[in-house]
């Protein structure tokens, strides 16, 4: 494109035709899930939502430094998968990993403290928002270099296979990640070694600030590539926790029983920008509005009402979560910064950082 003919309008992505969501599927009310579990899924989505809203506020107050990538609007994916996982299964996530961490049962306080860079943080303040990890909860890490963790997740699945432990690994990644080599290496590798792993693409339609369809030659960046690795093409509604859960339990069971890997694409949308204070102005307004209408929490709320749950019960859940988010915030805010000694610890397994003798 020469500079004379260059039209800046073409690169204003907010003028592109919106990519609108399909209508919610009420038939999913009939997916076979016990009501008490559905109540827990509602509560978990509330936890993820309210925690991250608070994280955003704290970022705007300059209490969360650096960066943070929120999954507001994408809670149904983390919820559906976490609910289908066994306690000792492994999660691998990206820098957009708050929700996946909390969904595995990691308490809010240390996670919030980590975002605030406090000594009581989940990683003692050494990891930050993008590297949340809690091995004891099966949360094997949040990784911030696109693609790498898919290869690493394979290793955990391989290890489970060798140990005969029946554990399944679930690795989450974005739509944009399907265009890096490591993604293709990882899927191929998992397929030929029949690893017990589920790869979950959270397709939120954008890689950072660029619409995914502008940089990907197929409509479904993950699902449409599955055939190349001999895998089933699976697309789910990533804003419907029950649909995600239903697929998750099938694929996890398949992996656990020796059926090998799966690749699933959950179509969803982030309510906010990519990270930090990004207002996401590169998205058509009509598109954002339509997806806000199709909020996973609103959908789930409506489903539970349809299933006969009284509104007051849902309100109580939301209020209880709000109280716990307040407590976590207080815990984090009142925690001291990391011990200065910790700067030089844990480079090596002996706990130190010495490179000479």
């Amino acid at each position: 494109m020469s500079t004379e003919t260059f039209d800046p309008q073409l690169l204003d992505y907010s003028n592109r035709p919106p990519r609108l969501p399909s209508p919610p599927n009420e038939a999913n009310d009939r997916i076979d899930i016990p009501l008490d579990q559905r109540m827990r899924m509602y509560e978990l989505q509330q936890e993820l939502r309210q925690f991250e809203k608070r994280a955003y506020d704290l970022f705007m107050q300059n209490l969360v430094k650096g960066t943070s990538h929120l999954s507001l609007g994408m809670e149904a994916v983390a919820t559906g998968f976490a609910m289908a996982m066994r306690r000792d299964d492994y999660t691998f996530a990206t820098y957009r990993g708050h929700a996946h961490t909390l969904a595995r049962g990691v308490p809010m306080g240390p996670v919030m403290a980590e975002l605030l860079g406090r000594g009581t943080g989940l990683l003692g303040g050494k990891g930050g928002s993008m590297h949340l990890t809690s091995v004891e909860h099966g949360m094997m890490g949040s990784y911030a270099i696109i693609g790498a963790h898919l290869c690493i997740a394979n290793g955990a699945a391989w290890s489970a296979q060798m140990r005969g432990s029946d554990q399944v690994t679930v690795a989450f990644f974005g739509d944009g990640t399907t265009n890096i080599g490591a993604f293709h290496e990882a899927i191929n590798f998992a397929a030929i070694w029949k690893l017990p792993i589920v790869f979950v693409c959270e397709n939120n339609l954008y890689m950072e600030y660029t619409p995914i369809d502008l940089v990907t030659p197929v409509e479904h960046p993950a699902a449409d590539r599955a055939a190349a690795y001999g895998l089933e093409r699976i697309v789910v509604d990533g804003n419907d926790a029950d649909e995600v859960y239903d697929t998750a339990r099938r694929l996890i069971e398949k992996a656990r029983s020796g059926g090998g890997p799966s690749l699933v694409e959950a179509v969803t949308y982030r309510h906010g920008g990519h990270s930090r204070a990004d207002p996401g102005k590169y998205r058509p307004k009509e598109e954002v509005d339509a997806w806000l209408q199709r909020d996973p929490l609103t959908l789930y709320h409506q489903r539970l009402l349809r299933l006969g749950v009284p509104e007051i019960e849902l309100t109580k859940i939301a209020q209880d979560v709000a109280r716990r988010v307040d407590e976590a915030t207080e815990f984090a805010k009142s925690s001291p910064p990391p011990d200065p000694e910790s700067l030089m610890t844990d480079v090596w397994a002996d706990g130190g950082s010495s490179w000479r003798r």
Binding site: G121, G127, L150, C151, N154, G155, E185, S353, W355
Partner: protein, 324 residues
């Protein structure tokens, strides 16, 4: 005591560790059925079976990633990257993932992986299959780096690398594969970060690594004929770095030369020169001199490659020149 080639010592050293630790597995391209493109893993598939010795696709990131993921969940792994130049293809997993994960998770994750790779020049393979990349590895906090120069050290350092709970890059020199040496019977286990004085001397200290060690020894022989008594140190390990052995040798000789196969800039010798310049300045009787490959990609033609990598002749001449 048995004489063994450096090449055979690699499989021998791995086998020692595979027998000791039944969890230990290995993976890499062509390492199983074919025994490795350099025949450094011959016989391991037969001894330990296809579940423990696995061929992979040409996917360096997938190889190192799988090694890391298995290691952090309880299975120690030896991964092979065929040529060390290929580390560039999976540098992210090495430099950003394996090396940093322990620190950034507050010590939650341990990564017992050995990354074996065939390093160095002399085989006329040209610029993309010949480079000495020890400086790529040494500069990364969280990685240990070793490079044996003899069959015996291959076995001892392999054991040390496998038993170390941190990621270790194990550099096997292509031009040493055919060399032979004595390997004592029984289990051999070395310690990482211990250099060896392989020739004692009083006039100058020569520090060398891998292929440069036999060359430094030959140069020292010729220097002796000139009346110069050179002490030669086989560094063996870059991280941890045995500065004690170097500093005490320099305290005795007052002169320091490094012989490095890596391209000049940021070679390990620069780090050693800086440590000695800082901590042993008053022991020095003259400038520290680095004898290195020039800062160029390696050429293929034998005459050119031989000019580039420090030869016995060049080591001898550069030392004689400044010692006069």
């Amino acid at each position: 005591m048995a004489e063994m080639s450096y090449r055979d010592a690699i499989a021998y050293g791995i086998a020692q560790e595979m027998r000791r630790d039944p969890r230990l597995v290995m993976l890499g391209e062509d390492i199983a059925a074919a025994g490795g493109v350099f025949k450094t893993t011959v016989g391991l598939l037969e001894q330990f079976g296809p579940d423990r010795v696995r061929d992979t696709p040409i996917s360096e990131q997938a190889i190192l990633g799988a090694a890391m993921g298995a290691a952090m969940t309880g299975i120690p792994v030896i991964a092979e990257i065929m040529f060390s130049d290929f580390i560039a293809v999976c540098f992210d997993i090495l430099a950003n993932q394996m090396a940093k994960t322990r620190y950034m998770t507050g010590g939650q994750v341990t990564v017992p992986v050995v990354i074996r790779t065939h390093n160095g020049g002399g085989a006329r393979f040209g610029a993309q299959h010949s480079q000495s990349v020890e400086n790529w590895c040494m500069m990364i906090p969280g990685l240990k780096v070793v490079a044996p120069s003899t069959p015996r050290d291959v076995v001892g350092l392999m054991a040390a690398a496998v038993r170390d709970p941190d990621p270790v890059v194990f550099l096997e020199h292509k031009s040493l594969l055919a060399t032979k040496g004595e390997v004592p019977e029984g289990e051999i286990v070395d310690e990482l970060g211990v250099a060896k004085v392989v020739r004692e001397g009083t006039d100058c200290t020569i520090v060398a690594l891998a292929l440069m060690v036999p060359r430094a020894l030959q140069a020292a022989e010729r220097l002796a004929a000139e009346g110069i008594s050179a002490e030669v140190i086989d560094l063996r390990s870059l991280v941890p770095l045995d500065t004690q052995t170097i500093l005490s040798s320099v305290a005795k000789t007052g002169r320091l030369f490094t012989v490095e196969e890596n391209p000049r800039l940021c070679g390990w010798g620069a780090e050693i020169a800086s440590i000695v310049g800082h901590e042993a300045f008053w022991d020095l009787d003259g400038p520290v001199v680095r004898i290195t490959t020039p800062h160029i990609p390696l050429p293929a033609a034998e005459t050119l490659e031989d000019m580039a990598i420090p030869s016995v002749d060049r080591i001898y001449k550069e030392i004689v020149e400044v010692m006069d």
